[in-house]
């Protein structure tokens, strides 16, 4: 909290500008958020495999799982709104 308070007005303006630009190109932000979410997912994968895989493997499997989920959403969008494609 103290760190947030110490941000100058210029730095806050810059942050707001960055976030506003993401409205036009949401993909990089989404990717970043997905990778962050994977940090939550990876331990779950590690637990599910009973520790037989390494932490890197768990992270990679998490990314793959998210990617598969994204493809499912993409294909559902194609089916429901085909005129967009």
């Amino acid at each position: 909290m103290m760190q947030l308070n110490s941000l100058t007005k210029e730095q806050l303006t810059e942050l707001a500008l960055v976030l506003r630009s993401q409205r036009h190109r949401p993909l990089p932000l989404l990717l970043f958020l997905a990778l962050c979410f994977n940090l939550v997912l990876a331990p779950a994968v590690l637990a599910a495999t009973g520790g037989t895989v390494s932490r890197l493997n768990a992270y990679a499997i998490g990314v793959l799982g998210l990617l598969t989920f994204a493809m499912v959403i993409y294909l559902l969008v194609v089916m429901l709104q085909p005129q967009r494609f």
Binding site: N57, I61, L64, L67, L75, M79, P82, Q83, F85
Partner: protein, 701 residues
């Protein structure tokens, strides 16, 4: 007395039914460098923003990236049993990469051919200098690109017509080979439904014309044809959208199925590598049709342009494939439309010269070809104008009065028009009718001509026989339409007897006579109410509402601007039976898509038998290896190689389309299910086995 043979107007060209490429004067399409450009384009299309528009190939593209990652780090997703994982994953990556490239290549070749055709069309256009007519009557030379709708220009012999327009004065012959590929000159003159519109880029051969421009630069017919073949404004047709939804659905199902395999495989103690899972997914999803779908659509539009038809949308071409009923206008569509005075038939005891005099007087202000032919015939018979034209008043034809004529300086009214309209006029002036009139009327109608009665005040002088000819070769084309299951109906404002004779001669299934423009619309609506798809061909302004109402409206290029705007297709050859070719293309599009989709899905069976035993050898499914493939790795590689190679192998079929055979729907379905369904099941077994033998021989796996 017969009039001399006229210059032919809007006759179907001798090569009607043949594509542009086989016509003598069509600018030839240059396909040099087409394939090398297509190869370059295939790699450019790997951009994810382009790939995302094709769901099936996008899934393959994502799979390629994942397998590329596993080539670098084979144990990224967990330890995998087996040797040479890097080599194996690398080979899979390469094959998947080429699968995507081959699909892009198919689309690039189709687009390249379209662009080559567009370039050939562009070459016929040039920025010319036009002679613009200013409001004060002076002429100004301006570039043709500065002309706008409503401007008036003068073109003289040797000039290229600068833009699409309507002739408002003058008579000239025009070489339309730039758009039709035929060099036979066509007569253009004002006031006629049939011969008054001209297209930019055509050359005037003799005399001069004053033209009112009807299209802004870039909106003319050649521009629209270029846009159509280039595919610049191409959007997916309803059929393509439906098929895309189906393919996305199938891909989704297979994705979910393949994603469910790892937990089950791990449980059975038979872990499967990610590369193998992706191979299974790519082998199962319909990549063949996914890769070729857009190429089929683009090639279909190019074929429409090859037949000299400008279609404003792919949707109209597809709708053509399902047409049940074709409604045709008579004059200018089934007949040549340049009705010319053939004979004067006197009644009431008048002599031929007297009838000729009255006919001449009634047509002296008439600018239509019919009027001019009456003047010509009357002068041939020795009649002269015996009044001061500057003191007389011309009465124009209206659809309401169905008459035209002249009010002479001594207030005498000379009229010509439909026989019943003239009868009404004579009755209203207190005159008497004669049965000779009806005899003459029937005689002309039985000959298939149009009878015009001519009178002065309350006295009928005679009947003018306007002769119209059915376009040659039409009867055979209507027979062809009948064999395709399409019913033809002729609609005309002419009387029943004339209509009956022409209908008989042309060979249409049914006709409706004395039809008003409202009747034309109600006939179309009645057919549509029975869930029939109705196509209409026409050329006149009075056809415009009906052309707009029909599911498919085909306007003749020789017709009026209003008709061309209302229709969703324009036939540059002005051939009313061109619909046969468009129906064939429409059906071909649908059949080709169906055939390749069937083939694509039928292929899956053999790929199951290749990949599943290879994946689950440890789980005891090795006995399913009915093709006797050498090793699990060679089995998977063979299936993927076959999957990749089948796409370029089917490109020629996709571009040419499955050959249309005039069979019934059931017969066609049966035939295609055998060839593409059963063939699609059997062919991959053989293909995969051969590839497996080669791979084992080479020692790749």
């Amino acid at each position: 007395m017969k009039s001399p043979n006229p210059l032919s107007v809007s006759q179907p060209h001798p090569s009607a039914g043949e594509p542009r490429s086989s016509r003598q004067y069509t600018p030839k399409v240059n396909t040099k460098g087409l394939y090398s450009r297509a190869v370059r384009e295939s790699f450019v299309k790997l951009d994810p923003r382009i790939m995302v528009k094709n769901p099936v190939m996008f899934v393959v593209w994502v799979g390629t990236i994942i397998t590329a990652v596993t080539t670098i780090a084979p144990n990224l997703f967990g330890a995998v049993p087996g040797q040479n994982q890097r080599l194996y994953n690398g080979l899979i990556t390469l094959i998947l990469f080429f699968t995507v490239v081959f699909a892009n290549f198919a689309e690039a070749v189709a687009e390249g051919r379209g662009k080559a055709q567009a370039d050939a069309l562009r070459a016929t256009r040039s920025d010319t200098i036009a002679r613009k007519l200013l409001p004060n009557g002076a002429e100004q030379e301006v570039p043709s690109t500065t002309l706008r709708k409503g401007d008036q220009v003068k073109v003289i012999a040797g000039d290229v017509i600068p833009a699409d327009g309507e002739v408002i004065a003058g008579v000239a012959s025009v070489d339309e080979s730039a758009i039709t590929g035929e060099s036979a000159p066509v007569l253009k003159e004002p006031g006629s439904d049939v011969a008054s519109s001209v297209t930019g880029g055509t050359r005037i051969l003799s005399d001069e014309l004053t033209i009112r421009i009807t299209a802004d630069p870039g909106q003319g017919f050649i521009d629209r044809m270029i846009a159509l073949v280039e595919g610049a404004e191409r959007s997916k047709t309803p059929n393509e959208i439906a098929l895309t939804v189906l393919l996305a659905g199938l891909t989704l199902i297979f994705l979910v199925v393949v994603a469910m395999i790892p937990p089950i495989a791990n449980y059975r103690g038979n872990p499967v590598s990610i590369a193998t899972l992706i191979s299974l997914l790519v082998a199962l999803i319909p990549t063949t049709i996914g890769g070729l779908l857009s190429a089929i659509g683009i090639a279909g539009m190019d074929r429409v342009a090859q037949f000299n038809v400008i279609a404003t949308s792919g949707r109209a071409v597809e709708a053509c494939g399902d047409v049940n009923t074709l409604i045709l206008d008579k004059t200018g569509t089934i007949t040549l439309g340049n009705r010319l005075a053939e004979e004067f038939i006197p009644v009431n005891g008048y002599s031929l010269i007297e009838v000729a005099r009255v006919a001449l007087a009634s047509s002296v202000f008439d600018q239509t070809p019919e009027g001019k032919s009456i003047v010509r015939l009357a002068k041939q018979l020795g009649a002269t104008v015996d009044f001061d034209e500057t003191q007389a008043e011309g009465i124009e034809f209206t659809a309401k009065t169905r008459m035209s004529g002249t009010t002479l300086p001594d207030r005498a009214e000379v009229r010509k028009g439909a026989v019943d309209a003239i009868k009404g006029f004579v009755r209203s002036r207190g005159g008497k009718l004669t049965p000779e009139l009806d005899t003459a009327y029937e005689r002309v109608s039985r000959l298939g001509g149009t009878p015009l009665a001519v009178c002065q005040d309350g006295v009928i002088y005679g009947v003018i026989y306007l002769k119209d000819m059915v376009k040659p070769g039409i009867r055979e084309r209507f027979d062809q339409l009948r064999r395709m299951g399409i019913r033809t109906i002729m609609l005309t404002g002419d009387n029943r007897i004339t209509a009956g004779v022409i209908a008989q001669e042309a060979g249409v299934d049914d006709f409706i006579a004395e039809a008003t423009p409202e009747d034309k619309i109600s006939v179309i609506q009645a057919e549509q109410a029975e869930n029939k798809i109705v196509a209409m061909t026409g050329d006149g302004t009075n056809d415009a509402p009906a052309l707009a109402q029909a599911n498919v409206g085909v306007a003749m290029n020789s017709g009026t601007q209003a008709a061309k705007e209302a229709a969703n297709m324009v036939d540059l050859d002005s051939d009313p039976t061109k619909l046969i070719d468009i129906v064939t293309i429409g059906k071909q599009l649908l059949i080709t898509r169906g055939a390749l989709t069937t083939f694509s899905i039928a292929n899956d069976i053999s790929k199951y038998f290749a990949i599943i035993p290879a994946m689950f050898t440890a789980a005891g499914l090795a006995s399913l290896n009915i093709m006797g493939l050498a090793t699990p790795q060679s089995a998977i590689l063979s299936a993927l190689i076959f999957n990749a190679l089948i796409i370029p192998a089917l490109i020629p079929l996709a571009l040419k389309g499955v050959k249309f055979r005039p069979l019934s729907a059931d017969q066609l379905l049966q035939r295609n299910v055998y060839i593409y369904g059963v063939g699609g099941i059997i062919a991959p077994f053989i293909g995969i086995k051969i590839i497996d033998l080669i791979i084992s021989a080479v020692g790749l796996a």
